[in-house]
């Protein structure tokens, strides 16, 4: 077990994250104090990185040994995350100590600019109110207007009620009218965007 920990690369590097310089919080202090490499040869020489030390020949070992050297690559989907393993799987206990130095999740920035607070403030009577408004006058009470009035998201309005077929038909015509004014470039760009979005699901 001693070899297993000491040869692992992460403690040697002493880095809390995978690549800190890519994070917004990272301050390149150490780089500024370093001397500039003015010659091409010197830069090239420095960039010639040797293979990882764990792959080299270890002369001090007299017998076969196993090292933990996770690769610098994106994770494979065939390796089930520990959380997804069933309770009786043997790998669950084996992996327990491997993630000791994983980055803290709370410190990572979120994808969204602001997390929407979930309020759960609408009552069933509000929902019936929304439905009534939407049914009676679909032209004035659009999704956006209803969302603004009841202080919720337009998605919630769509989940709660459906508009009349006439309104749908009108909206479709409006969309067609807008799309008919698109030129070849815009049309193709929109189609490409759609295709690209579909390819995310196939992981291409």
């Amino acid at each position: 077990m001693a070899t297993f920990i000491t040869v692992s690369r992460r403690p040697i590097m002493g880095m809390p994250f995978g690549i800190p310089f890519l994070l917004p919080s990272y301050e390149p202090v150490s780089l500024e104090s370093r001397r500039n490499q003015s010659s091409y040869r010197r830069t090239k020489q420095r960039l010639r990185i040797k293979p990882d030390a764990s792959f080299g020949l270890s002369s001090d070992k007299s017998h076969s040994h196993i090292v933990y050297n996770p690769p610098s690559s994106s994770p494979s989907v065939y390796h089930t995350p520990t959380k997804f393993l069933p309770a009786n799987d043997a790998r669950r206990s084996l992996r327990a100590d491997n993630y000791a130095n994983a980055p803290a999740v709370e410190e990572l920035p979120s994808v969204f600019k602001s997390e929407a607070e979930k309020k759960y403030h609408l009552t069933p009577s509000d929902v019936t109110e929304i439905r009534k408004l939407r049914l009676n006058d679909p032209m004035t009470w659009s999704r956006g207007k209803l969302a603004k009035r009841f202080d919720c998201s337009p998605l919630f309005i769509a989940q709660v009620c459906q508009t009349s077929p006439q309104k749908k038909e009108i909206q479709k015509q409006v969309l067609e009218a807008v799309q008919s004014r698109w030129g070849a470039k815009r049309r193709m760009a929109r189609e490409d965007r759609k295709l690209r979005k579909e390819s995310w699901g196939r992981d291409e």
Partner: protein, 406 residues
């Protein structure tokens, strides 16, 4: 299972060209060929040899000699004269208990010879069931969490008609231009579809699905388990012959090369099972089908990965998934790269990189879902290993709740 039983079955599946029923129809079928400017029918040179062979059907009356030009498919005796057939037998390392006559019968498609005693239809039904049985048990024991649509796609990739046709090609099976009694029995014999025929236009009738004429009805994936075949396609198998169209019932409909090749491979599997037993059939499956390379992770096509992941976490009582930026570069440039991880509590479920935050998030969700679906137990054992002698006691395999329904 006992060997005796196998032989009892095989006696019903195998028979010599002794029956004379349907000969009239066969003559009608081949009369056109007989009228052609072909050479005069020659009697097989090695009749003596054929007579001396102790063929299993000694109890049946000796066959009435028919000119081989009149037969719709090569006579049984011709199997021992074909170099192609013997070479194919040796190339596949088929067991010596499987005679050349059976291999010759496997090469005859129902479209070439309508008589079920001389074509491979019975073998191919058995072989198809064996192939799908072994493939399904392997798949479900190895990847117990796969969703049903991916199970269908994987089975199609392993034992689907396209793969079986490719296998027949890789075995070096050649095709006869036209079936007939004088053709070398080492060639695959079937009636070809006329060139230029559009195969997709034919309406599917006679499926097992009720209300099949309602084209716009939604077909749920769960109904495919009941009504469709193992690839999720409409199933024709369970229909009684009286309800089929007359052309289909007589099996004279021409078939494509793919169908004929796939039927041949299936019938070889069935023939091995009948002649050499279950162990040989399973070994044949492992060697020829399971050894093929398939990346199952490339068979998924998610339409709404983030929504599925939220549902999964809710179902499994995990903390709701949160997307966080692990690293990024060039946010204000033309080619940014974001690496987004999806976390549930403190555990990372998946990770994806993309040129925009929504893309990276969607890819991370796809990776997390694949991580869930592609779980594989440490030691995989399939139920059919229990059929071997001296097998270790059976331990129940991991069974999953089912797919994430939405």
């Amino acid at each position: 299972m006992k060997r005796l039983q196998l032989q009892r079955w095989s006696s019903s599946a195998l028979s010599s060209r002794a029956r004379t029923d349907g000969r009239l129809q066969r003559q009608l079928c081949s009369s056109k060929r007989f009228q052609s400017t072909d050479a005069t029918p020659v009697q097989p040179a090695s009749e003596q040899l054929a007579e001396q062979q102790s063929f299993p059907s000694t109890t049946i009356r000796r066959p009435v000699r028919v000119s081989k030009y009149k037969l719709p498919s090569p006579p049984v005796q011709a199997a021992h004269e074909s170099a192609k057939l013997a070479a194919l037998h040796a190339r596949l390392y088929l067991p010596s208990r499987l005679p050349l006559e059976t291999l010759a019968r496997c090469l005859i498609n129902p479209s070439a010879d309508r008589n079920p005693q001389f074509n491979n239809s019975s073998f191919s039904v058995l072989g198809h069931d064996l192939l799908t049985n072994y493939a399904t048990e392997h798949l479900i024991c190895t990847y117990p969490r796969l969703p049903l649509s991916v199970v269908f796609a994987t089975l199609y990739a392993y034992v689907g008609p396209k793969t079986l046709a490719a296998m027949a090609r890789e075995w070096g099976v050649e095709h006869a231009a036209l079936p007939g009694g004088e053709v070398d029995p080492g060639l695959l014999q079937y009636k070809r579809v006329d060139p230029g025929t559009d195969l997709s236009t034919e309406p599917l009738v006679g499926t097992t699905r009720p209300n099949e004429d309602q084209k716009h009805w939604r077909k749920s994936i769960n109904s495919s388990v009941v009504y469709d075949n193992e690839f999720g396609d409409p199933d024709l198998a369970g229909v009684p012959p009286s309800e089929l169209q007359p052309e289909q019932a007589q099996n004279t409909k021409p078939v494509t090369m793919e169908q004929a090749s796939a039927d041949f491979v299936r019938s070889v599997m069935g023939a091995i099972y009948l002649h050499a037993g279950r162990a040989a059939a399973k070994r044949f499956f492992e060697q020829h089908i399971l050894s093929r390379h398939l990346d199952i992770s490339s068979l998924f096509n998610f339409s709404e990965p983030t929504r599925d992941l939220v549902r999964l976490c809710a179902r499994e009582n995990y903390e709701p998934p949160v997307a966080k930026i692990i690293s990024e570069t060039g946010r204000r440039s033309r080619t940014p790269v974001f690496v987004v991880g999806i976390f549930s509590g403190k555990d990372k479920l998946g990770e994806g990189a993309g040129a925009s935050l929504p893309e990276a998030r969607a890819r991370a969700a796809v990776a997390a879902l694949k991580g869930w679906y592609l779980y594989s137990p440490v030691e995989v054992r399939v139920p059919s290993t229990m059929e071997e002698e001296g097998a270790a006691p059976w331990k129940p395999v991991y069974v999953d709740l089912g797919e994430v329904v939405s």
